[in-house]
Symmetry: C2
Subunit: 411 residues, 2 copies
């Protein structure tokens, strides 16, 4: 497997988060000779918050997490790769129950405190019995300093493991925010994302965690798209292991607590970093495309227009071919359905304005425009010219390799 | 250029429509050594109706047609290929005025009776002066028996000319309905279509023409998609050359006229035939995909779900790879945003049911499903299981050839 040319130059080195231990193993769920089953276990109940796919055909583990997230307490996460346990009917539901029950027995907690995620082929029954008896040894083996092992074990078509870490200072104490994610195709998260797991030792209660997670998902995971296809399994879970005893500071339990915004800002950095790593591993990517839309009637209108550009096969193939075909950007603005006035539109590749006032820029230079799309990271800016609404999304080009990866994914 | 493997085995042979003459020539607008300028001229004012793109960035000729269609009278159509005259600002507007004025002078009519269409690159100024002086000789040369010549001259990335004809009997007299169309990429018509021109000698007044055209565009042109990208130039124009004198029967001028439904039904056949020829010439197509959705809450919900499947890059690449990956159909149903209940869903490839009641069919056979997707025409049926809403759309697979065509379209 060739690593994406847009992979980060350096992989983040994640420090331990006190109270969270991790382990991974090869359970033979679908892959040969690679780790595909992984866990995080919390020494004491952690606070938890989550956002999930809006797909009407959500996977069984997503159903399971949704049911149990409101209690706000977590003792473990169990993740398998290779099988999404999606569209698996009653069998799928039983598989989640079996997995949670086995994990709960091994840890000594309620099954409802075990969170689950599955990723891989849709529609294939997941035989939980094949790995549920291995969970006990997996939990026994879990250690704090093991983030990259788990980040590798949750991958499917990913070409690199996605890790991120940041520090946050609260009341003079330094806490860690660690995150891992997976995702490469079927990426157009809708108020959710692909699999991502973030753990902090800051003492942030679940309701506060949920608040900052929801606040920042729009600008991070929901602002990326690889192929406009929204997964049945999108899940972001955030856990906080800290409490007054472990942290020595008062827990953040109130949405009005002024310390929450500071924590949220650091969480946002980790979320955004993970989201960017997902799009940088977009299936078949050769170019990262950043799309800025401004001057729309509302931020939401700007987002819809930006996504229309990012998801257009004709825009994506033009960028793949290093063709500065800005007419296709006009097309994508026009089809988005949001208010636009052709004669007020302006378009840039990088800093090179190619169109203004509804026609080609008077100073248009094919060479200058071309130079911009030859870059590995292509920046497109569109000014709708109507209002103050703005949005930024990230996508990638559409290449032969995307076709090759997906024309025969199951075999 | 290789002709699409899905091209019709036989090209329709269009008879003359009395009162309509056609001509085409090589005007060097963008292509070398091929006809790219064509006209239809009506000996007497014809009735006319049209539907156009809903793009917010519609082309200058679309603006021109919209302004003039309500008068309901046409003396000519002028079409150029190679340049869409879209996003060309004031220059584009002047180009339409210049073209219409030159044509009107040559014929001896008002510019407003001249309808225009342009197709090709977006954003490049169209120099009407380069061909407007050639219009007079083109009109002089126009003859009734020349449909295939014009069908060829309106092509861009099309690999075959698209022609259709049918007869309609009204009051015991037989009339002709002839249609030509172009389109291969940037095809996801929205209440309109790519370029299509339909001419009949039946005496049907403009208001009645518009009524049956609008009634049938949903099930024909608006039910196809090649790449989810909606053009700035989509235009369907229908002309009727007949009147009481030429036809010997009373004109259809009343929407309640019982003869209108019969005419509309035949018009619908021609529209559907042309729409199918466009999708059969989808850029890079190796498989035609017919998607039937039933059991949705409403017909509109069914259409949105069907389009979500037809436009999913992951569904399209799976079909290209002859992989019966029905999990991706579940994904596309789930992301469509319309009501769906995972546990009531059923899915078929051809007559082979692969999923039912929210999981893989108990009698699932990979071989049987595989045989269905190996066919050149793949049929997918989805039963949502909630209501009576149904829809049918046609799409095509997503192949290496689509990428190759579009990665460097302009050079």
């Amino acid at each position: 497997m060739v690593v994406s040319p847009l992979a980060p130059k350096k992989t983040a080195n994640l420090p331990p988060v006190p109270g969270a231990r991790l382990a991974a193993m090869a359970a033979g769920i679908n892959y040969q000779d690679r780790k595909d089953l992984s866990v995080i276990v919390f020494d004491a109940p952690a606070f938890v918050a989550g956002v999930f796919t809006r797909s009407k055909c959500a996977s069984a583990p997503v159903d399971w997490c949704r049911e149990n997230i409101s209690a706000g307490r977590a003792r473990a996460v169990v993740v398998n790769a290779g099988n999404a346990n999606a569209f698996t009917g009653v069998k799928g539901k039983i598989a989640t129950e079996t997995t949670a029950k086995s994990a709960a027995e091994a840890i000594g907690c309620a099954p409802q405190e075990v969170f689950l995620a599955s990723t891989g082929v849709i529609g294939e029954p997941l035989e939980a019995a094949k790995f549920s008896d291995k969970l006990e040894q997996l939990f026994d083996r879990a250690v704090e300093d093991n983030w990259s092992d788990m980040a590798g074990a949750i991958m499917t078509t990913d070409t690199f493991a996605k890790l991120s870490t940041a520090n946050v200072k609260i009341d003079g104490k330094v806490f860690t925010v660690n995150g891992i994610a997976k995702g490469s195709g079927m990426i157009a998260p809708d108020m959710a994302t692909m699999l991502a797991f973030i753990v902090t030792d800051a003492p942030v209660a679940s309701v506060c965690l949920q608040s900052v997670l929801s606040a920042h998902v729009g600008e991070s995971f929901n602002s990326i798209t690889v192929d406009s296809d929204t997964s049945t399994s999108d899940t972001v879970l955030v856990f906080a292991t800290g409490n007054k005893n472990t942290s020595g500071i008062d827990e953040i339990v109130d949405l009005e607590d002024p310390r929450l915004a500071g924590f949220g800002a650091v969480l946002a950095v980790v979320m955004r970093d993970l989201a960017m790593q997902i799009v940088r591993d977009g299936e078949g990517i050769t170019k990262l495309i950043e799309i800025n839309v401004k001057g729309a009637r509302t931020d939401n209108a700007a987002r819809i227009i930006a996504k229309s550009i990012a998801n257009s096969p004709l825009v994506k193939t033009a960028i793949a071919g290093e063709d500065a075909n800005w007419g296709r950007i006009v097309m994508a603005v026009g089809k988005a359905g949001e208010e636009a006035d052709r004669d007020k539109l302006a378009i840039w590749f990088g800093d090179v304005r190619v169109a203004v006032d509804g026609e080609r820029d008077p100073d248009y230079s094919e060479e200058a425009a071309s130079d911009e799309v030859k870059k590995q990271e292509v920046k497109i800016t569109v000014d709708i010219g109507l209002g103050q609404g703005k949005a930024r999304v990230w996508g990638c080009d559409l290449t032969h390799e995307y076709i090759a990866i997906n024309a025969d994914y199951r075999s």
